[in-house]
Amino acid sequence: MTQWTDIQADLASQGYVAPPDLAMALHLSLVLGRPLLLEGAAGVGKTEVARALAMAKGCDLIRLQCYEGLDAAQAIYEWNYQRQLLAIRAAGDGHTDEAQLFSEPYLLERPLLRAIRQPVAPVLLIDEIDRADEEFEAYLLEILSDFQITIPEMGTITAVTRPMVILTANGTRDLSDALRRRCLYAHVDYPDRATELAILQARCPGVSAALGGQIVAFVQSLRHEDLEKKPGVAEMLDFAAALAGLGIADLSSDPVVLQAALATLLKTQSDRASITTEVAQRLAGKAA
């Protein structure tokens, strides 16, 4: 019987450090065949989980990025109208076979349809589901419960394999209870200091242990400041890469360079303004 620690190890081999809660949620989601809903602030590595999982399992990652106004034509399937028009013209004088016109060659697969027709079960990532609207959520529920899609002209397509479904949300909109109940749930938080250090070492092995510790401490304390957009893990990695690229060995050594490197962490005008050189130096001093 596989255990959640196995999946944790698998993910670690792909450079993803998963806390026990998350590893357990992924494990159960795989074993029980339930979709997993990941919630958390932007930049805590929700999307990355799916990528790492696909790599670890050696399967495809099929990604559906949600946005407001996303509809069935973009998410599930669409007919290839140009080809159909050409086919009608080519046949000429009204002898077009309708059944043939609405068949496989004229069908454009979109992520959801593609995901259920793979010979090897892929990881299906439905990213930022809260950006899509309620109507789409309802449609998604239907697909996630029986893994089949009905195309009026062709009939029902049943899943060849069941994809492992991961949904992510960061609270743009409150999701419906029906969707929440269908899914297992895990809340992904900003990593604690030890975990973040492990992530940094896994992703940027070039950064020295001393500098790595400073970077993590600095970013962690920065998250406690009153910022509009708190720096996520990806930003932290960018920051580390920037410092390494600039050849910095100690965070508080050069205020000007540190201030410049903050561009990788602070992404709004007011955040930049609120972290002045003095504040940055104070945080860096504490981190050292």
Binding site: D21, L28, Y81, Y185
Partner: protein, 389 residues
Amino acid sequence: MKPTRFAARDDGPVARVAGFMAHLRLHGFRLGVGEADLALRALAVTRPEVESVRAALKTVSCGSAEDWARFDGLFDAYWRNGGRVRAKAVPQAPHAAASPAARGAEGASGGGRGRPDTPDGDGGEAESGSDGRLIASTIRSLMKKDLRDVVSAEDIAAAERVAHKLGAALRDRRSRRAKAARRGAKIDLRRTLRASLSTGGEPLRLARKRRPDRPVRIAALVDVSGSMTLYARPFLAFLAGLMRADGQSGAYLFHTRLVRITEALRDDDLFRALNRITLLADGFGGGSRIGAALSQFAATYARRFVNGRTVVLILSDGYDTEPAEALGASIARLARRGCRIIWLNPLKGWRDYAPVAAGMAAALPHLSLFASAATLDDLAALEPEFARL
């Protein structure tokens, strides 16, 4: 939050898991039979260690960030005897061991069904419940006002109608999803092509689609500080009505702090709903810190519930005990979420009123609508204004 206690006898693991699910449900988790079944299946593939079991049950039973944060405490309370175990069950009455604990927990979360357990009276020394539910007197000492004295069921029924109308007036006209329509700006290729088959591939009839209107969500914040006590009645009724009329809206009270009362107001039982709010809103009629409350709103709930399709409705007189900058800044921050902000001020109806309360003046540039409303009728009269937004 009181832990549920076990009866001394044990009905086996299945009953215990079911009991745990009931325990979570009692504390506001939305769980059904399906989840209990899923929990058992999850436990079957989990190593029997405390932390594994905790993580497994957590991922199965939680549905939101709040659940996630509260789960560990509830888990400990149930499984690890965070509460005391009642040592012996009375053999004559099989349910005796469970029921006092259950009743206590119900009272504490304000979820007791049946007769509400806070007594009537005007917040003074009314006679307490007859059957010795100690919880009632505890509640009374904590609060200043019982909201059931302030709002009646008839008020709410009337408010529901008003809320319905206002909700319908607030329509969003920017939906991006196109729907098939007889007249519309865009051509619906799929249907056009389909129709063209009957005319030998010539698209003679053009099918069209257009963007339909969509309802917006309302987040209503009501000031229940001392200076607003007079208006609390219509406004609270309006909130209750709004929550009943529209499943998408959110309701909040603020005085010196901010309380989300959406879920409490949606309670099927009206009296229980008011009872729950009474518990949530202690400090009712106290001072007001509008700036702080709004900035807390902008930093927490607004992130989840407010977007470009939301109308934030603030019902307050704008008298703040804090510097005006705080209010201005928090309104500005809220406005950045792309929502429209409507401020209804009961004082604006007064002759010669000018928004001199410094906070009010600071907020003014960010408001889509600044109007007067002191009664339910006033709110109803705002319908055309809302429709124009």
